[in-house]
């Protein structure tokens, strides 16, 4: 088919959906579904950083886990390096995961408290039979890469600070020399002064190892800092996708506009009138009809309530799903 087009893309996501049935009572009748991810498309080129932003619960993490096949998608297609992952299972999926890794949000929960740093990092090598006789050297090298030393090898996670733990998590992800790393809010749990250290480290590693990142965050400044292209999600859907510059300079979706406006600027001289959205994020189990955003949209018209806008390109490389793009 169009082999040529896709062969360039590292990752291609088409119509990705994940609906969680939620259950009621002990007897567990399915009472409905949470549309955590409800039709998301994007492609990622090798070497780029793709940022995903959106409010809590909009489906960012779910998207990340779907790509890694940590859960089965309800619908949609994921192609990684040209290989369709839809029906890949068992052994094969483990093979695929060698090239895709994840860095988690909470450095406190993502490291097994009962394993030493050495074992945490070595685990992936052992699982894939990559452990050589000089396993300790391999691990040490990885630790050095993320800025930790060999004297940390035999310590347990609780003996480290959050920033250090996040480094361990990154070392673990790097161990298999993956092509793609999904960073699920890697700095949200860290102190401001430490965030910068980690962001710098991630950027450096990308250069050194030709990594591709999916960078999930709800802090826009951090996303902007690292990403080449950014997708904005709202209630399980991608509402805007553009290059970093385009998105920040000229957002087309009202939600993106509001999001940008809502960020407090750390400069008291620039206090400004902001667009304050009314209302809360609707319940993903019961999303509004039409455009999901219409309940909070300052520009909503009748059609927004009825018809769901399609996600389409309106400038080169700039996509949005809005009836009345700005």
């Amino acid at each position: 088919m169009d082999e040529a087009a896709t062969s360039q893309a590292l990752l291609e996501v088409k119509g990705l959906k994940k609906h969680f049935p939620f259950k009621q009572g002990i007897f567990s009748r399915n009472a409905g579904v949470v549309r955590a991810v409800d039709g998301v498309d994007f492609t990622i080129q090798p070497g780029e950083t793709f940022g995903i932003v959106g409010e809590s619960g909009c489906g960012k993490s779910t998207t990340g886990q779907l790509i890694l096949k940590l859960m089965e998608p309800t619908a949609g297609e994921i192609r990684f390096q040209g290989q369709n992952l839809t029906n890949v299972t068992g052994k094969q999926i483990r093979q695929v995961r060698r090239d895709m890794q994840m860095v988690f949000q909470d450095p406190y929960a993502s490291l097994n408290p009962r394993l030493t740093v050495r074992n945490i990092v070595a685990e992936s090598l052992k699982v894939h039979g990559l452990a050589k006789s000089d396993l300790d050297d391999q691990v040490e090298e990885l630790l050095n890469v993320v800025g930790l030393g060999s004297h940390h090898l035999l310590r347990y996670p609780h003996e480290f600070s959050g920033g250090q733990r996040q480094r361990i998590g990154i070392a673990r992800a790097l161990a298999l020399k993956p092509k793609l790393i999904i960073c699920d809010e890697p700095v949200s749990a860290l102190d401001v002064s430490i965030q910068a250290q980690i962001l710098n480290l991630l950027k450096k590693l990308q250069k050194d190892f030709q990594l591709t990142y999916i960078f999930i965050a709800h802090g826009l400044p951090a996303v902007k800092h690292v990403s080449d292209r950014i997708g904005v999600m709202y209630l399980g859907k991608m509402v805007e996708l553009a290059s970093q510059e385009a998105l920040f300079q000229h957002p087309h979706h009202p939600y993106t506009e509001a999001l940008l406006s809502a960020i407090p600027v750390p400069d008291p001289t620039k206090r400004k009138e902001r667009i304050v959205l009314q209302g809360e994020l609707p319940n993903p189990a019961d999303p509004p009809n039409g455009c999901h955003f219409h309940t909070r949209c300052p520009y909503a018209k009748a059609i927004c309530r009825e018809e769901e806008p399609v996600f389409k390109q309106i400038e080169k490389g700039h996509y949005t799903a809005c009836h009345f793009p700005l």
Binding site: S161, S193, Q197, H225, P268
Partner: protein, 320 residues
């Protein structure tokens, strides 16, 4: 000059734990004037919450104020009886906490929880309490307050719960409101709503506010004055414009430079090296010296005192 509403002087707080004595606040002094928003910033664990809990008188029983004075309306809070302090709480001094998800009691209705404080301090009857609760919820921008007062916390979103907390805190027209990271757990769009609302309420009610946060953006948006804390000590204090324009303490400077800016994009951020010190093993001298690019031998051996630079700007650094 107005007399300050709150004056914290040389506050020291310690915790007695199995791991040993933790000196969590070591030297903290600042003032809050009526109607003023004072922001306290600093990294996790630097003692922001402990300071505010000391003002409230809500330290756990194994934590104690080891030294210092807290004047509120010319009374030294630390000398008041438990009962007198209790009567101030919720009435003249109120507090909003960081975690809206866990700060409301899950088993009581919103109405019950707001009404409780109104009845307690204002002695209103049931119907008046209800009316007042609804009025308060209205003021913090909650739609359908009549319905909300019959709901339980889990039925509300995080932003709504934080509004309820604010309504509760403001329901007795406190003179001082302590907001401990009121928006950290919220999404940006919701944070914007809450911040707008707080600003408005502060202007209407002339309430003195202590705003604790580590988001300098929030500080820049809201605060009149900023207190920067590091490792249990106040390291810099100044009006907000002055601080952002002219930070004196190397820590403050590092902090300001390490946040990614929206309007510029650099390959690499400036970051403060090293880690926040462990309260059990405080570095000698200036607690910041291991991370400070300016550190000298003096910094390692001697702890700097708070020096006044200009009328409203104090800093704790030998190099400032």
């Amino acid at each position: 000059m107005t007399t300050p509403l709150l004056e914290v002087k040389d506050l020291q707080v310690r915790f007695q734990t199995d791991a040993g004595m933790i000196p969590s606040v070591r030297d903290c002094s600042f003032t809050v004037n009526p109607g003023e928003i004072v922001a306290i910033v600093g990294e996790s664990g630097c003692g922001k919450s402990v300071t505010s809990l000391s003002i409230m008188g809500l330290l756990p029983d194994y934590g104690q104020v080891a030294a210092g004075e807290i004047f509120f309306d010319d009374r030294d809070l630390l000398k008041l009886s438990k009962k007198e302090r209790r009567k101030l709480r919720g009435n003249e001094i109120a507090m909003i906490f960081q975690e809206p998800m866990t700060s409301l009691n899950p088993v009581f209705t919103i109405g019950n929880q707001i009404g409780e404080v109104i009845r307690l301090h204002q002695g209103l009857d049931q119907t008046r309490t209800r009316e007042k609760s609804i009025e308060m919820l209205n003021r913090v921008g909650i739609p359908h307050p009549e319905r909300v007062i019959r709901q339980f916390p889990h039925q509300l979103s995080g932003g709504m719960r934080q509004r309820v907390m604010i309504a509760m805190a403001l329901s007795c027209n406190p003179k001082l409101l302590i907001a401990d990271e009121p928006t950290t757990a919220l999404d940006v769009t919701i944070q914007a709503q809450i911040l707008e609302m707080m600003k408005k309420l502060n202007q209407e009610q002339e309430t003195g506010v202590i705003l604790i946060t580590h988001d300098l953006g929030v500080v820049a948006e809201l605060a009149d004055r900023v207190v920067v804390m590091y490792a249990g000590k106040v390291v810099e204090q100044s009006p907000v414009f002055e601080l952002f324009a002219n930070p004196k303490h190397p820590y403050t400077r590092g902090l300001l430079q390490s946040i990614p800016k929206m309007d510029e994009r650099r390959e690499e951020l400036d970051s403060i090296v090293g880690l926040v010190p462990n309260p059990l093993q405080m570095p000698s001298g200036c607690a910041f010296h291991p991370r400070c690019p300016l550190a000298s031998d003096r910094c390692r051996g001697e702890s700097p005192a708070l020096t006044t630079l200009s009328e409203n700007h104090t800093v704790r650094c030998f190099h400032a």
